[in-house]
Each structure stands twice: as structure tokens, then as C-alpha cells.
Subunit: 721 residues, 2 copies
């Protein structure tokens, strides 16, 4: 039935002629649509040279250089990593800035977890050493910890809270299970770990123990490390539990965390107060097998070999001790700049963080190595005399793991310039994890990503298959037959400052599909990566080339390859989903059969479709003019500025309700899990809060956005003539 | 989307007026529609007395009488059970026959299972004794065994085959995993256990070990026995592995297994040749944790705490020894008859088997106790002077567990009489397992089951809720809003002879929803039942009353409450499903959007709907005539005979292709799993064999059935005048 429904939609859209203009085959000739016909061959040769630059050996070299030791933000290993990147960027001939910021970080001091009782048992909070992987036992590796845990020692009974999601705590309340004063035992997955702690603390819990369940990432998925790639019984997921309503330094929201910046009082901000400890499932099994309370609701059972229970019972108590230090600690972004040949004021930014919870072979280095190879390709070409038209910025971000700090501080410092001059941002966090390409992308960037994908071979390609072909075969867009499905951008990595704070068209590129998990553990090492992702670096080659193809076009195309028309289609797609969710939540009535967008949202649907039709028409005329060389110079510069402005039409100075740092009305992270992208967040929030008035107000606001978009596109149309 | 699709269908049917006649509210007055208005009060009083008869204490007493010891068919415990039932029936005043038959049964002689290697390990093939449950350690309990296993000793490497389904063995072939000469380790679930062995043997396996996986019935479902109700680590599912294409005695298909019957040669029939052993998951865990081969496909992982592997590797060998004796052994059905007051030649049959794999508190006694209470209620009323109009037969079947033998032998003996005179069959196997009522029912019996359900309180009823209300709330029929969803009848219990061999309208009544599993294990005991299902016997009271309400009406209503019109609606429902499956299998093209029945099946759809409209019209006139007392005597007797004949319109003397014993063209068990009901089996088989010509031929055959049905209903109409 879903396939049929999608077919209906395509027919409906087809009937109003909306899709016709964007349904070109990106695999056909002429994908360099933003160049005059006479300049295409030269750019194609340049692009071929860019794409020919990355090699398996250089990727391996970067990986070995940056993955040799643990480098948690603010540690000596972090500083050495910063110096290594700085030197590499300088060696390439980039203009390099080490952008240092002073953020409130956390450091583990000590921790322990014991089961009390007749035979007390101290539980392991470190991974097992493996002879096959010396990196995992590097002396700078840490015990398991969650950054920003409260400090203290508690002894308490246990309550199991499944994934620790909002709904899980509601279920416990409904079942009459007391959380107050107890230690919440919950498993990783389902939401951002910080929310597990937030909800537990709000429910009065004394502490939290979070474990990796074998059904989520362990033996139930496949053979475990070191024989296979999945989490073994001691594997621990580290990670920040900061859920402040803004990313970046906890003490300087909205402004740069310089050494002497004005700061909030660290006691006043909502960081966790209770102790929190992550463990592997061997430790969790010791706890769970001693629990004696009632069985759990159906979906709460995990993969350990026992029936999970809601409570431990009176006879079972845990002693949890966590000591952490919070301090303002300097660390740095490394920013390498390749100045543009003809429009140096405009910036294409490519970024990936460099800090990790251990050696970080996957997180972040599977992306960082692609960043380094992209920088090397551009600078090699520059040395050979060919620079991009616009400035390309290569950013290795610091302290991402603590709360996306480095990139946020840089965006906060540069916001005015970025809003005006940034053409796009590409994020590469953990980008090369497997051969299956994916991209979460702002609507306006989707066309250039598709067109680039049509010219890049897929990883381990057989029969010359392109990324576009493999990607769309694997996940077709239900609304656009034959074309790939994009992800939506939410929170979770360094694109957030660019998209959500500055309104910049962004994309997160990546490859997945390998079988394993070492996420945030001491096993996130080169031997793990070689075993699970492979030693051929084919995924990293694919991602490096995709990065070069997209950023190269964004940096050099005479007409900026931004496609504002796509906001119309994507808004309609979102309204279908919003209708479904709003009806499920009871905020609106379910629409009549065959109607995918509720009548309550019909005005906005109309505005979005009308905008798309009009923008697609202007786009056709614009591309024809560019192809013919009929538009250039100042007129083209004005068009390009308007194209940038179209993405900024979604910005709101006051920001989202309760989260003023989030200024983009199109894309945000969600409020209650930190996991799901909230596209058209004003609607999502109205549904979450079951607030019909807010839903209606949101429609008015978004009608205003489309009004601005129409004005901008009208101006572009006027320039085309 | 599914809800919407159902709505469309109802509208479509509504538009041709088909449903109008059957959409009455069975909760309203007048559900005694098969009586003249003037006789309804008297019957209602009689029914109230019947329903008031069953008590918790008597149910408990039957349960203790019959569940005190293991009683496997053919053993001394079985004989004692037969004698107990015989005495009880006689005490009630029934005419009793001990119907003895001589069938090829199997007896366990010895078995062992060892892991070979540097440290050989003998694996447990018996359940652990539990101080809480002395019944489980009764000296007559057996080790785990699968009846009709081959005998022999083998030593071989291991291959894991998931559920041992047809698709699983195909997957192994596709992956290039060798099965020949190896021991297949597979888990219970997904198909009838006999097919696991059949497919393994066909693939050349040397033997089979079948285990209960904790994800299917153990700790992943809930707390295990004895603390909770789910299978503990030693719990073993016994059971027959006979997959002969007919139920009943393996040596006398189609005829009664009398002592001197003509028999097939036991060496010539397709019973298993290789040794087969069932085990609990503690034993399976010992094997699986020593396996070293490649990981399994995604859905093959079970709930044991390790990554499942396809092969054990060369270093790991099992030694399996099974010794069983196959012999022709007598055992008996116990048939109690209450002769009808005015139509003694017509029979209403109620049955449940009495044999078990152990004490059988659930299987079969959760049904047998309801059979006993139903018999007691009827005979109590008879002693008080009120007998049903038609004869009621209470049948406690023997040797069901070996292959539905006792009931089949009786049906084979009585077939001619049953075809002519049986008004319906109610099966009660394991009927009282929980408070949630369900019924798998022939179309023609659905109306009377619904109407009966409207007058019976649901188990543990609050606010006087009826079975009808609770049942339809829990599972609404997607095609009939506000009315409950019926199951389809396939194989698997003693109704099969009545439905599939004799074409008798049948229903299997039951209640479920309890949390636990002791199926075919030594833990299927009274303590288990009391802990898991409860000591209040509310589910058994509900099922006893439903049995009385349905059978009482079938036995006494002047107009037989059979509703042939429903075959029209149900045929159309099946054609929707057949369209989907045939399109998925590529036998026909997917129909155009919005079309639920393929054009290839449109003639039959039309015939079914036309029949329904016509039969519903006759039904309306008939009910009105009965209500007014305008039809009675010979004319009514002719109508009743025609109503019986309508169910027999589905019979085919030659039977199904390759399975001549199966003579009902409406309902059969499937060919390849023994699990799924095959409704309209000629179509199901054509799809399974991807045989388009057979599909077309099936439509012709079914058009013929509807032609016969139309003739019968036309004759009824003529009687009504």
C-alpha cells in the first residue's frame, strides 16, 4: 500500500506540472548546468584532476598519523593532534589559523561500581585488553565515563528503564514503579544518552548506569570484536550527557568562548547533578541476573540471557561512585584556507572534528582523513596553477564530542560573515564507514549532490556503477522515482552551527553498511577499522571524491549550484508527515481518505507548490541564460547573492520557542531525544506539545517564509530578464 | 493505510448491498432468530440453565482427575485416562462407546547426545526436576523425544538451519553451506516440526537436533518457570514429526484402523529415517558456543548470548543416538452420546483429545475439562426432562498427538453418516489457556458463534462485558466494522477429519493471552496451569459456556443456524489475499491500483458476490417465515437438510492434488509448513507451485462450487415460497 500511496502522490504532483522541471537525469550530459557551455570542458578536466588526487596510500597515511593515540579534547594527545593537522595544512600551502577557544569541559578523575550484598562484586568499567589490538590498551585510554556526569557516591536499589526515553519513564509512572532515590539502569539506543540522564534526574533518580545491550550492538547483531566487529561484553560507549538547549561551550551560548568572554555561572546551567556511569553488558548482566522484581513490558526485553525485570528488589543495591572535574580548558579548531581566485570573499566550508574518545579511527577520523585528502587535492591543483573561484575553508574542529563546541564557537565568531558569504557547508564526521553512500542535505543542495554523485564511482564499484546509481537503487526517493532518498539534517554533529544557527545550505556526506560497532569505545582503533570497514579505503576514496565534486562545483561554478525551488517539494513532503503525526497526536482530525495533507495545512501546501512552480520556471530560464553566456558579471553576482539569501529566508532572529540559539525554521534537532531531525520545527513542537494554536501560528510563520522566498526568486527572475 | 483500505472494501461491498442483511447487531434482542417467536422464551430459559451449569469446582475436579499422571497414547497411563473418562460419561448417563483403534505409534527406547572433542560433554535431554512441581518429575515422564524419529547412532559436524523452514534450507543452498552428512541444528517455531526433519532429510542431513530458542518461548518473552511461566533452560518440546499427506493412522489412510484392517507396509510410508532429538536451550547453548563458522543471516539470530553461526567447523562433532520402536498399538476414543429428543438422527459433535505428552494440564486438558463440563450441563438438563432436539456427541479423542489419529479413525468409520447427518463440530483442544476468546470457524458457522458470544460473559468480565464485545474490541474484522475477527481453520487438531475429510461446518473455540509456555514439556502440569492461566478457571468457564451456547443452538434450533451466504463474503476476502500472494509470486501481474481482486479472478469474485446477495435474500425470507411459524415439519426438515448440504458443496471426491484424503475445497492445511491454513487450497497450491494453468483451473472448479451452492439455495428459496 505504501508504494501505491507514493504513486498517487507523484501523479498528483505531476498533474500540476511541478516536478517536470526537476526530473532531469543527472547521469546525462549537461550536469555542469551552472557553467556557460563554452567553459564546461575546462571545468570537467579540472574536476577529473581533483577526483584523481585521493589515493588509498595517503588516506592510510592520514589515518595512521591521526589515529596513533587517544586524543580527547583538552588532553596532551589532543594538542599533539592539533599540531599534526596544523603542520599538514601548512605543508599543503594553506593559510592556517589555530583557532583556540576556552570551553567548560569535563575530565574523569575516578569511578567505581559495585553490587552490594553477601558477596559484593566490583564491576568492570574498562574494556578488556586484546593482544590483537594494542591501540585499545594505550596508556592514555580511559575507563568508561560520560562527560558532565555529576560527582558523588550513592548506594541505592535499582530500577530498569529500558532506553530511558521519555515514553519509558512515562510507562514506569503508569506501572507505579518508583524511580525516586533509585539508580536507573538503562540501555544505550533510541535517544541521545543525555536525555536518559535528564529524564532520570527529573524523575528523582539517585544515579544512572547505562549499558550497551547485545541486542542493539552486540552478539545479536553478529560476531564480536576481535573475531568480528560488534561490541564484545566489555565494550563501553562513552559520550557527553550535555542536553543544554544550545550546542557549543556550555558557558557562552551565542558568543565565542574566548579566554576572557563573558560567561554564565557554571552552577546555574542545567548540566547533570547525579552520577552517571556507562558499562558493557558483562557488567549489566551481573546486575540484571540478580534482580528479582516483576517482568518488563514486551518491548523492554534486551538480548542478555535472562528475563529483564523492572526492579532489583530490596535485597539488591548498587554503590556508584563517580568523580569528575569540570574546568574551562583551552583547545582548538585548525582552519586551513585556500583563497579563491576570483571571488575570495565567498566561502565554501568543509569540516570534520578531530577530537575523539580514544584513538578515534572511526569517530571522527573516518571523516577527517577525507577532509585531509580533499585539502590535498585542492592545494595540489592550486600549486599547478588552478585555484577555485571562491575561497575554500578546511576546518578540523575541536571538542565536538563534548557538545559540538569547536565548530559552534567558530560559527558564533564568524556568524555575520557566514550568513552573508558562505555558499555551503559539508560535514564529514565518521564519513567513511562503508561502501553505501548516504547524504543528509538541505533542500537547496540536493541537486548538486545528485549531479556530483552521477560522476563519482561508487566504492568497490563493479561495472562502473556511479554513486548515484548505487545510492538510488538502494534507497529510492518515494516521491521522485529513480532518484535517491536524502536524509534530513538535525543535530548531532558540526553542521549544526552552520545550518541551525546561520542558515547555510549544508550536507553531511557519508558511507555506511559495514558490520560492526566500536562507537566511543577504546576499540575505535585502526585494527578495528581495517577489520570491519576494510584496508582498501574504498569508502574513504568515494567520500573524498564526493566531497571534491560537490565542494569544487560550489566553489567554482559561475552560477552558484543552489536550488531554492526544492524547498517547495520538501515542504510538501514534510506536511504529509506532519499531517500524519498531528492526527496521531490528536492535534487535528485525520484528513479524509486520499488526502495526504490536512485541510488545516492546505494554505501552506498551496504556497509551497506555487513557490516551487514559479522557482522552477525561473531556474529553467536562469540555466538557459547561463548556458548561453547571456548572464555574467555583476548581474550573475547579484543572482548568486540572492541564491544565498534564499537559504537565509528560513532564519528567524528570535529563534525557536525556548531555544533562541536555533534560528533556522526549516531544520532543527528535536527537543526530547536529541536524535530525530525536526524539519519545520515549529510544527513538530506544536505536535509534541499537543498545541493546536501553535500549529496554526506556525502555518502563518511559514507562509511568511514562502512570501520572502517568492520575493527573492522574483528578484532573480528580474535579473534573468 | 490498512485501516483505510478496509474502509474502501466495506464501502465497495456496501454499494452492492451485500452486507446489509448480515450486519445485524448480535447483541440486540432476537438473536434466537432460528426459533418461531413463540418458542424463544422457553429456549432462552433452557440456555440460561445450560450456561449456569459449569462451575469452577467441577472444572478443577476434572482437571485433577485427568491431569494427575502422564498419559501418552498407548501407555498404561493412557488406558487409565480412557477408563476415567468412560466412567465419568457413564455416570452422567450418556450412552458410551469405547472406540478402540490399532494405529502405528512410536515409543522411545533410549537416546543420548554428546559433544565430542578434547573434553566430551553429554547434553541433558530431560527437564530439570523442580521441588515446586512434583508432577514434572512423575516416574512416567519421559526424556525429550520426537515421535517417529529414525533410530541409529551418528557422529557428524553441525550446520545451523534457523527454523528449518523450506526457505531456510534454500538460503543454506544459496550460501553454499553443505548440509549433506551433517547434523542439522534448528530451532522450534515457524513451521510444524515434522517439516524441519523432512527438509533436513531431503537435503541429505545425517540427523536433526531441534531446540527451543529463548527468543521464541523463553526468557526473552518473560520470566521462566517455575518463577514465571515461560520455558526455562531445560524445557523440551516433544511432538510427532509425521508429515504424511493424511492424518490418522499412518498405515490405514482413508479407512478405519481396526485390529485386522488392510494396512500399508510400514517400510513403504514416508516416515523419517534419520535420528531426531529435541533439546532445551541450555543444551543448544553448549553446542552453539563451540561453533566457529561464519555468522548467520540477519533474521537467523536467536536469543542465546552469542552470535549464531552457520557451521560448527571441522573440530566440532556431535554424537547423536536415538532408539525408538514403531508398533501397532491399540488405544481408544471415548464417545458419549446424548440421544436427541425429536431428531436423533442428526448429530452435533463436540470433541477434544485426551492423550498428552506428559500430564497434559494444558494440552489437551484445558479443552478436555470444558468438554466434560459441557457434557455434564447437557446431561443434567436431560435428567431434569429437557433433552436437545438432535443428538449431541461428546468425544474424547485418543492419540491426537501422534498425528490426529483417534478422531480421524472415527470420522473414517462414520464418514457416510457424518456427511449426511452431522450439523457441526466443535473442537476444544487446549481451549482454556487465557481470557481472550478466539474462534477459527467455517464461514457457515460464524453467525451462530457471534450470536452465542453476545450472550456469554467474557472471562473475568468487568461491567458485564460479553465475549462478543471483548472479542471484537480486541480484534475487529477489517471487513465488518464492529464485529470480531475469526480465524481460518487449517490442520493441527481433531477438527481436521470433520472439516477436511467430511466437509462439516466446524469451529475451534479457545481463550488465550496468558504469559507462559510449557507446550509438550514435562512442565505441562496443574501447578504450571494454576500459576500461568490461573486458579479461578474463568477462561474454562467462558469456553464451556461458549461451547454450550453454540452447540445448544445447533442441537435444538428448529431452523439449523447455518449461514451459507457467508461463503460469498469469505471467498471474496480470500480472493483479495490470493491476488496479493499470486502477484508477489509472479503468477499473475499486480492488479491496477485500487483493485483488490485480480482481473484473472474476477469471474469467481462476481459469482461469490452474486451468490451472497441471493443467499442473503433467501435467508431473510427464511428467518421471517420461521419467526412467524410459517414453516415447520417436513418443509423445515428439507430446508435443514439443504443447509447441511451447502457445506458439503465444497467436497470433492478425488480430493486435493497429491493429497486425496483432503476432500474439502474450501479449507485445508498447507503443504510445506503444516502451520498455515490454506483457504481455497487449489489457489494456494497453484501459487506455491507458481502454476498459472492450475490457477485458472482452480477458478473453474470454484465456479462449479458456487453453481452447486446457488442450486442448493434456490431449493431452499423454493421451500420458503
Amino acid at each position: 500500500m505504501r508504494r501505491a500511496a507514493a504513486a498517487v502522490l507523484v501523479l498528483a504532483l505531476g498533474a500540476v506540472g511541478v516536478l517536470a522541471g526537476s526530473a532531469r537525469d543527472p547521469g546525462a550530459a549537461g550536469t555542469l548546468s551552472c557553467w556557460p557551455a563554452g567553459e564546461r570542458a575546462a571545468y570537467a578536466a579540472y574536476e577529473a584532476a581533483l577526483l584523481g588526487s585521493p589515493t588509498r596510500d595517503k588516506l592510510l597515511e592520514w589515518h595512521q598519523l591521526l589515529g596513533a593515540e587517544p586524543h580527547i579534547a583538552g588532553t596532551p594527545g589532543d594538542l599533539r593532534t592539533i599540531e599534526r593537522i596544523e603542520k599538514a595544512f601548512k605543508d599543503m600551502g594553506l593559510e592556517v589559523e589555530r583557532h583556540t577557544f576556552w570551553a567548560l569541559l569535563a575530565r574523569p578523575v575516578g569511578a567505581s561500581l559495585e553490587i552490594l550484598g553477601p558477596e559484593p562484586l566490583r564491576l568492570d568499567i574498562r574494556e578488556q585488553a586484546l593482544p590483537q589490538d594494542p591501540f585499545a590498551s594505550h596508556p592514555d585510554q580511559t575507563a568508561g565515563w560520560n562527560a558532565y556526569s555529576g560527582s558523588g557516591e550513592i548506594t541505592a536499589e535499582i530500577v530498569y528503564a529500558n532506553y530511558g526515553a521519555k515514553a519509558d519513564f512515562e510507562k514506569l509512572r503508569e506501572l507505579g514503579v518508583e524511580v525516586r532515590g533509585r539508580i536507573v539502569l538503562c540501555r544505550y539506543g533510541g535517544n541521545f544518552r543525555g536525555y536518559k540522564v535528564k529524564f532520570a534526574q527529573e524523575a528523582g533518580a539517585a544515579g544512572v548506569v547505562i549499558f550497551t545491550d547485545p541486542s542493539d550492538s552486540g552478539y545479536m547483531k553478529g560476531i564480536t570484536y576481535p573475531e568480528g566487529g560488534y561490541s564484545n561484553s566489555t565494550c563501553i560507549e562513552r559520550g557527553s550527557i550535555n542536553t543544554l538547549p544550545y550546542p557549543g561551550d556550555p558557558l557562552t551560548p551565542g558568543r565565542e568562548a574566548t579566554e576572557n568572554a563573558e560567561r554564565l555561572d557554571a552552577k546555574e546551567i542545567a548540566l547533570p547533578r547525579i552520577p552517571v556511569q556507562p558499562v558493557g553488558w558483562a557488567a549489566a548482566n551481573e546486575i540484571l541476573q540478580r534482580m528479582s522484581g516483576p517482568g518488563v513490558p514486551e518491548k523492554w526485553q534486551g538480548g542478555l540471557p535472562l528475563a529483564y525485570r523492572l526492579t532489583g528488589g530490596e535485597g539488591l543495591r548498587l554503590r556508584l561512585r563517580v568523580e569528575q572535574e569540570r574546568a574551562i580548558i583551552p583547545t582548538s579548531n585548525v582552519i586551513g584556507m585556500l583563497r579563491g581566485a576570483s571571488e575570495p570573499g565567498k566561502m565554501m566550508v568543509i569540516g570534520c572534528h578531530h577530537d575523539a574518545w580514544g584513538c578515534g579511527a572511526s569517530d571522527p577520523l573516518a571523516g577527517t582523513i577525507a577532509l585531509m585528502e580533499a585539502a590535498r587535492a585542492f592545494t595540489d591543483r592550486a600549486r599547478a596553477g588552478k585555484r577555485p573561484a571562491r575561497t575554500v575553508v578546511f576546518a578540523a574542529w575541536g571538542a565536538e564530542e563534548f557538545g559540538i563546541i569547536g565548530s559552534t564557537e567558530w560559527v558564533e565568531r564568524e556568524r555575520r560573515r557566514l550568513v552573508k558569504d558562505a555558499v555551503a557547508y559539508i560535514n564529514l564526521d565518521m564519513a567513511s564507514m562503508g561502501p553505501d553512500f548516504n547524504a543528509s542535505t538541505s533542500p537547496s543542495l540536493r541537486r548538486v549532490v545528485e549531479e556530483a554523485a552521477a560522476g563519482v564511482p561508487t566504492a568497490r564499484a563493479k561495472d562502473g556503477m556511479t554513486v548515484f546509481q548505487a545510492w538510488s537503487r538502494r534507497s529510492e526517493d518515494p516521491m521522485l522515482a529513480g532518484r535517491p532518498r536524502f536524509g534530513e539534517l538535525g543535530g548531532g554533529s558540526d553542521h549544526i552551527g552552520f545550518v541551525c544557527h546561520a542558515g547555510i545550505a549544508s550536507t553531511s556526506l557519508g558511507g555506511g553498511g559495514s558490520k560492526g560497532n566500536s562507537y566511543h569505545s577504546t576499540y575505535d582503533t585502526l585494527p578495528w577499522y581495517w577489520k570491519v570497514v576494510g584496508e582498501d579505503y574504498e569508502p574513504a576514496l568515494m567520500v573524498s571524491r564526493m566531497t571534491l565534486a560537490v565542494s569544487g562545483r560550489m566553489a567554482s561554478a559561475p552560477l552558484l549550484p543552489l536550488d531554492p525551488a526544492r524547498y517547495g517539494l520538501e515542504t510538501r513532503r514534510q506536511l504529509i508527515d506532519i499531517t500524519k503525526r498531528a492526527a496521531e497526536a490528536g492535534v487535528i482530525a485525520a484528513p479524509a481518505m486520499g488526502r495526504e495533507v490536512a485541510p488545516e495545512l492546505a494554505r501552506l501546501e498551496g504556497a509551497a507548490l506555487q513557490f516551487e512552480a514559479m522557482a522552477r520556471d525561473v531556474d529553467r530560464r536562469l540555466l538557459a541564460a547561463v548556458e548561453a553566456g547571456a548572464i555574467s558579471g555583476e548581474r550573475l553576482a547579484r543572482v548568486n547573492a540572492l541564491l544565498i539569501e534564499a537559504d537565509r529566508a528560513w532564519l528567524s532572529e528570535e529563534g525557536l520557542p525556548g531555544r533562541p540559539w536555533f534560528k533556522n525554521l526549516y531544520a532543527a534537532s528535536d527537543e526530547d531525544s536529541g536524535y530525530a531531525p525536526w524539519t519545520l520545527p515549529l510544527f513538530r513542537r506544536a505536535i509534541e506539545h499537543k498545541d493546536r494554536a501553535a500549529l496554526d501560528a506556525a502555518e502563518e510563520t511559514y507562509l511568511g517564509v514562502f512570501e520572502r522566498l517568492r520575493e527573492i526568486v522574483t528578484k532573480i527572475g528580474a535579473e534573468v530578464g
